[in-house]
Amino acid sequence: MVQNLFYFLSFLAVLSALMVILSKNPIHSVLYLILTFFTLSGHYILLNAQFLSIVNLIVYAGAIMVLFLFTIMFLNLKDDSFTGSRLFFHLGSGLVVFTLAGLIILKVATAPIAVADDAHFDSQIGMVENLGKVLYSKFLVPFELVSVLFLSAMVGAVMLGRREKGEKNF
């Protein structure tokens, strides 16, 4: 049952991830990307990481992708305004993609397969209580550093978005 669900979710994840890059319309790409996040959340639930799964939905599917949609909806993508050498563009992007994909596949194929340690396995590790305890004791310093990083990103975004002197007031 769980295994079938895993295969179904994986199939859906790969399919929707492929559709992100294959679909012609950028809005469809964004919607497929949201579907991909859903399938990944399903995988997290199969791993009993409920908190991670719902936070993935709220933050990525619910907030970040909405902003993606916002931006793309306002762009006028009808006319193909790409000028320059098409061959060069295709060759360059192909080279980058294949190098990256090759490196990843090489790394994954040669990585040792982890075996579940039944003796020390704790199925409750993904629950909110346990996650909170671990984050605020064992990983306190990195966790706080990440929050400082977020804060500086927020301040940066506000600074960039601020209306400058003499700029048009909409």
């Binding site: 809005i27 919607l31 409920q50 908190f51 719902i54 709220i58 619910g62 909405v66 949609l69 909806m73």
Partner: protein, 362 residues
């Protein structure tokens, strides 16, 4: 008796779903009756006695209207928009416990059965997850219509929703800190006596939450996504027939769900004042426990209906905001207030054991 447990749970889930739809249906009728009452009119009174078949007549009208899809619209997304709005609205009520447990030991079910769809560890976050996904129904519908006004209406609705979601989530954090759990049933169990209701422990949080709930449901005074003078009909300008009906109906379901969440988080859910007196009057054992649970369910629905009435009351009392006022209220007042509320709650939670220890040592 796995089969009986399955049947009992299935019945409860179907009942919750059915009651959600029924209350949402009759909210449309109640809305016009309340409007009539407040404006000293009669309201709908033609279909059946006191007009109680009005929702059915409306639904019939919606179904028989021409289902029109604009020529250059994106067809599949045009259909997906209202479907998504309806789907996310219907899914939310499954984590809300509408009552305490039922003792069904006479059917051979040993564990008490909770009157709740599923009791998940992440409870309230599930509700927020679905609320944040509700934006897609509006945005997809608005974009797929291939109409500038629809698109602008959708953008406006979506930015309003995501702005108020932040303050809403922040106001909940203070409750989670007090209870120490994300599960809605745990939050209700923590409010077992009248003075432990979260409205007394979190008055500021409650005010923030209810304002945000109004904004999330697109209700007046924050019904900015619809505006005849600026946006025609907003994101559903191009919609007709039952697709439009689904958008409007989803709003009523959202109203029911927000009322249920407000009652559960701040007004003790199925608890009511004088519970111990009522419990003393009832017989011992399973029968008394079940009766008590049913009275609790009644109390919960009473609170929910009051808040639905409150939503309508506000609609005919308070004038709507301007869009910049809405954004200023959300970002510059509610979010800082919610953060201050979290800090104060944290400080009080830390100081309270110290003060209690000091008083007892005197």
């Amino acid at each position: 008796m796995e089969l009986y447990l399955f049947l009992a749970k299935g019945t409860i889930i179907l009942l919750i779903f059915g009651i959600t739809l029924l209350i949402a249906t009759y909210s449309t009728y109640a809305e016009r009756k309340v409007a009539g009452f407040i404006q000293d009119r009669l309201g709908p009174n033609r279909a059946g006695p006191w007009g109680i078949w009005q929702p059915l007549a409306d639904a019939g009208k919606m179904f028989f209207k021409q289902d029109f899809i604009p020529a250059r619209a994106s067809k599949w997304l045009f259909i997906a928009g209202p479907s998504l709005a309806m789907l996310t609205a219907c899914l939310t009520s499954c984590v809300i416990p509408f009552g305490d447990t039922l003792d069904l030991s006479f059917l051979g079910i040993e564990k008490p059965v909770a009157i709740q769809g599923i009791d998940v560890n992440i409870g309230i976050l599930y509700v927020f997850g679905l609320v944040s996904l509700g934006v897609y129904g509006v945005m997809i519908g608005g974009w797929a219509s291939n109409n500038k006004f629809s698109l602008l209406g959708a953008i406006r609705a979506a930015s309003q929703n995501i702005s108020y979601e932040l303050a809403m989530s922040l106001s909940i954090i203070a409750i989670i800190m007090i209870t120490g759990s994300l599960s809605v049933s745990e939050i209700i169990k923590d409010q077992d006596t009248f003075f432990k209701w979260n409205i007394f422990r979190q008055p500021v949080g409650f005010i923030i939450f209810i304002i945000c709930a109004f904004a999330e449901c697109n209700r007046t005074p924050f019904d900015l996504p619809e505006c005849e003078t600026e946006l025609i009909g907003g994101y559903h300008t191009e919609y007709s027939s039952m697709k439009l009906g689904f958008y409007l109906f989803a709003e009523y379901i959202n109203m029911f769900v927000s009322s249920a969440v407000i009652s559960a988080l701040y007004f003790g859910g199925y608890h009511f004042p004088g519970e111990s007196i009522v419990a003393g009057l009832l017989p011992e054992g399973a029968l008394g426990h079940n009766l008590m649970t049913l009275i609790g369910v009644g109390a919960f629905f009473g609170k929910i209906l009051f808040f639905i009435f409150f939503f309508m009351w506000v609609r005919w009392t308070i004038a709507r905001f301007r869009y910049d006022q809405l954004m200023n209220l959300g970002w510059k007042s509610l979010i800082p207030l919610a953060i201050a509320n979290i800090l104060v709650t944290g400080a009080v939670l830390l100081a309270l054991p110290e003060i209690k220890g000091y008083i007892s040592s005197l």
